[in-house]
Amino acid sequence: MVNDNMTSEPIIEIQNLVVTFGEGADERRAVSGVSFAVHRGETFGLVGESGSGKSTILRAITGLAANEADVMRVAGADVRTRRGKDFYRKVQMVFQDPYEALHPRHTIWRQLMEPARIMNIPDAEARGHAALDSVGLSRALLWRYPHQLSGGQRQRVAIARALMSEPDILLLDEPTSALDVSVQAEILNLLCDLQDERGLTYLMVSHDLGVVAHMCKRTAVMHAGIIVETLDVDALVNGGATQTYTKRLIAASEAYGEDPRDIAQPRAS
């Protein structure tokens, strides 16, 4: 959404990423030779159906899934082997289900302080308050537990926790698909605001074309562990897809998706 300078060096650069699960006869390639680049300040989408490997890519970047790649540069560092604390300061992840991502028996304040302690963040308390403010959570919620919050509040806590290290990159794994549409709107607005304020780069996994069209400028379409094509979202939603699979995905999304009359008569917003 912010000015993405396409001429600058990409902040995420991945070439020929391979992720394999299982061994011997059970070996299965979840991601087989994926390459893409994300520029600073951009929101880049990974779209596809379940099992296409889109979430696995995020897990591979953070080191949660063992992987091989010819190139994997994130925020200026080669991260193919070891990821130091510095990496996790710069790259944070927000998961689909905030209830599973938060510790059920830690207060909201402790959820924020824990990563600060692990990453030796000096001004943890000040940052904790600032993080809560920037996600729009009241300080009255500090001593509550996750089960005492609504789904949207929980996702705000997860985002606040990701902000504690003042990262450059957020990896967003279906961040709103577990939320109601009215809450989804709030969280998507929040993500856009944070990007404007902090110049964050988002790599966003989603199966929802509406969300991708709203958030992303470019997206990769994945199927069976490979990127079928990478294109501008404008082109994607306006019939610019060149691959059969992408066309099929769009057709299926639109069959019972947005009303085509919305397309013919765009309403002022």
Partner: protein, 276 residues
């Protein structure tokens, strides 16, 4: 509506808990004909509780009251457990979100469909087997003979949901309740399942209650839509006329959805009114 398949009047479902009484459903009324009736709402709106109450499958702690829930001549709330056994599965089928949790993991899917048929029709084992195999064909499963012998863990999500539909349709119910039946499916699979449901409603004259959180889906798929908010039906509309919704809640939901072809800088946020 003349001769509705199902008639619900002033349905109320409440729970008595430590924090007092919680009203999950607060006076819902509607008639179901041979149509696709959508019930849309966000989490906690009472849409699933409404569906469960119709089958008398509410949680034990729930207190269910209604002026009437009538299936033909039968008063569901006053019916004996025996009568309900004959209604559940036989006259009203229920398909839930995730087939993984609805199918018995240690029985082949074919036998599960055959069992559903045998129980309701008191037919022979071989008849039931034949009927189940034919039903697998009817829900567009290729090679039904082979799939009959497969176990639930060998199914993809789409196949599992077809099995559930086959199991619910084998006893030829008049009403099918689909509770977020396609929400866990990928879009391409979802499309196939919806087309299948659409054909079945058209061919067999079923009444379908389609419970969903997805406004876009419901407005394209259903004939009529009830919009629920905090246990009440706030608005009833023809699905094609959802754009003309007047209730601020419905309008707010429609506005809050990202639109593929209408880029907006910010999404309008729903402002909830305590009076709704």
């Amino acid at each position: 509506m003349d001769n509705p398949l199902l008639s619900v009047r002033d349905l109320r479902v409440s729970f008595h808990g430590a924090a007092g009484i919680f009203d999950a459903v607060r006076g819902v009324s509607f008639d179901l004909g041979r149509e696709k009736l959508g019930i849309v709402g966000e989490s906690g709106s009472g849409k699933s509780m409404t569906g469960r109450a119709i089958m008398r499958l509410s949680p034990p702690a729930a207190i269910v009251r209604a002026e009437a829930i009538r299936l033909g001549d039968i008063d569901i709330l006053g019916a004996s457990e025996r009568t309900m056994d004959a209604i559940r599965g036989r006259r009203i089928g229920l398909i839930m979100q995730d087939p993984k949790y609805s199918l018995n993991p240690v029985v082949t899917v074919g036998e599960q469909i055959a069992e559903a048929y045998r129980i309701h029709s008191h037919s022979s084992t071989s008849d039931a087997r034949q009927k189940a195999t034919a039903m697998l064909g009817a829900v567009q499963i290729r090679d039904p003979e082979r799939v009959y012998r497969m176990y639930p863990h060998e199914m993809s999500g789409g196949m599992g949901q077809r099995i559930m539909i086959a199991m619910m349709l084998v006893s030829e119910p008049e009403i099918l309740i689909a509770d977020e039946a396609t929400s866990a499916l990928d879009v391409t699979v979802r499309l196939e399942i919806l087309n299948l449901l659409n054909d079945l409603v058209a061919k067999r004259g079923l009444g379908l209650i389609f419970i969903s959180h997805d406004l876009n889906l419901v407005r394209r798929f259903c004939d009529r839509v009830l919009i629920m908010y905090r246990g009440r039906v706030v608005e009833t509309l023809k699905a094609g006329e959802l754009d003309q919704a007047t209730h601020p809640y419905t309008r707010g939901l429609l506005e809050a959805m990202p639109r593929i072809h209408v880029p907006r800088r910010r999404l309008p946020v729903l402002k909830r009114d305590a009076a709704w």
